[in-house]
């Protein structure tokens, strides 16, 4: 990247900057999925999100569902939202709306049982969404800087090169972003098992170190409790095929994505960081759930490395795919945005880190990522307890 890190974004009432200005149509419960899908068919320009959550759970999982759905609405890339509920669910449109009062965003609700069924609900949502899209189209842009950005870090389908090329290059980009006042979230606690050594060296305070130990220790204990002697199976078959042998080996490569800045804070899944700079979020290693936690925290973009190749994207939040090897970049050109495999051919990690930062700026300026072009937007929330 050369020159200043400046983009034109949309400032939300809470002060945060969006790099997209989406109208979100969000099902509050799985039962509203059909209506949301119909609205997406009629209005391709909205971001329609359906999921398997919203009812049938209790206790902490329910709180996480509400927090994550509300966080998605509050994500700065979302300009306005239509919440689509069924009417008898736990996470109702009214309940979700009540958590959003402070966001200052336009929030509309449609409840299927109240408006007379699916077709009428889809008509009503469509009309509201058309109006909101018009309003969003007229909103002025404002200048945004690196300090306004929060990026989520993710790796999916890792191979042995991930820790040698794509992840350390992302780490360099993160170092630069943090130097300029920005924020990055290192997530995937499962992929910190065996990598506490390097993470503790970055811990800014005793409190951060203690929390890192507790979160990673808990995840490791859970893996052992549930998987027993198969605990190493938290590696996916593709990881092992590519030459990764142990979870520690995968983790040590994985955490290089965070770079070398001090870890300022350790937060729970879906929580918003209170500090800028490098923060750690406690999430599963499972990509799609981890992405939801970081989007709910307010990440406007995701830097996502892959060795095996994954098309996964996320609603309203651009996902930038970085390949760890050039063969993958050539084999899946429609899914990968940038090739860090060039490091194996002699490019320096610093050079590719700058390229990643440059691409992040272009995406912040509006350039679509491959996952956005492909309409790859999957949404799932991390859950721990049983369904009822």
């Amino acid at each position: 990247m050369s020159g200043e890190f400046v983009f034109q974004g949309w400032q939300r009432p809470d002060g945060r900057m969006g790099i997209r200005n989406h109208c979100l149509v969000l099902a509050t419960v799985a039962c509203a999925a059909g209506v949301v899908r119909e609205v997406q068919r009629r209005l391709p320009e909205v971001v329609a999100v359906e999921h398997a959550h919203g009812c049938g759970r209790s206790g902490p999982d329910l709180g996480v569902q509400i927090k994550t759905l509300a966080g998605l609405v509050q994500n700065p890339n979302v300009g306005a939202v239509v919440l689509v509920g069924l009417g008898c669910e736990v996470v109702s449109a009214a309940l979700l709306r009540s958590t959003l009062a402070s966001s200052g965003k336009p929030v509309e609700t449609v409840v299927i049982q109240e408006v007379g069924g699916s077709r009428k609900a889809a008509d009503r949502v469509e009309a509201l969404a058309r109006r909101l899209l018009d309003e969003l189209g007229g909103q002025p842009r404002r200048k945004g800087m690196a300090a306004d950005l929060m990026v989520g870090l993710e790796c999916g389908g890792s191979d042995t090169f991930s820790g040698l090329t794509a992840n350390p290059a992302v780490g360099k980009a993160v170092d630069r972003l943090v130097e300029m006042g920005g924020t990055a979230i290192l997530a995937e606690t499962t992929e910190m098992i065996g990598a506490l050594g390097p993470l503790l060296k970055l811990a800014k305070t005793e409190e951060v170190a203690a929390k890192l130990k507790a979160k990673v220790g808990r995840q490791e204990a859970r893996a052992r409790e549930i998987l027993g002697p198969l605990a190493h199976a938290v590696l996916a078959p593709g990881n092992v095929e590519s030459g990764l042998t142990t979870i520690a080996e995968k983790s040590l490569g994985c955490v290089t994505k965070g770079g070398s800045s001090p870890i300022r804070e350790v937060i729970d899944y879906g929580d918003r960081p209170a500090k800028k700079g490098l923060v750690v979020m406690d999430t599963p290693g499972y990509d799609v759930e981890s992405l939801a936690g970081m989007a709910a925290a307010g990440a406007q973009a995701i830097l996502f490395t892959t060795g095996r190749g994954t098309p996964v994207g996320f609603p309203a939040v651009p996902v930038i795919k970085i390949s760890s090897n050039s063969e993958l970049f050539e084999a899946m050109p429609d899914d990968i945005d940038l090739d860090a495999g060039t490091i194996l051919a002699g490019k320096s990690i610093d050079e590719v880190g700058e390229q990643i930062l440059g691409l992040l700026l272009e995406v912040a300026c509006g350039q679509k990522t491959k996952a956005e072009i492909n309409g790859q937007a999957v949404f799932a929330i991390a859950q721990e307890g049983p369904a009822f």
Binding site: D159, T160, F161, G163, L164, G194, A195, G197, P198, H232, V240, S242, G243, T245, T246, A248, E249, L252, G253, T256, N325, L344
Partner: protein
Amino acid sequence: MAVTAIRVHGADNVAVVAADVQPGDVVRLDDGRQLRAVDVIPRGSKVALDPIAGGQPVVRYGERIGEATKDIAAGEYVHSHNLA
């Protein structure tokens, strides 16, 4: 044939081969050190740089990634069959 292997940290006793390796191939590290491969080693997999006795730590990124489940000779393929 000579194949490059990538070692990240000076304390590492394994390195990742950048191309498929056949027994007898020369494996070359970026510091100029060379060793001869004993096994077929698929691209992206690990080669032992030093002899590693069973029970001893296998080190990559300067950190322990597991331990040898049997004696490993320099130049051997290191994966699930001898590392856990």
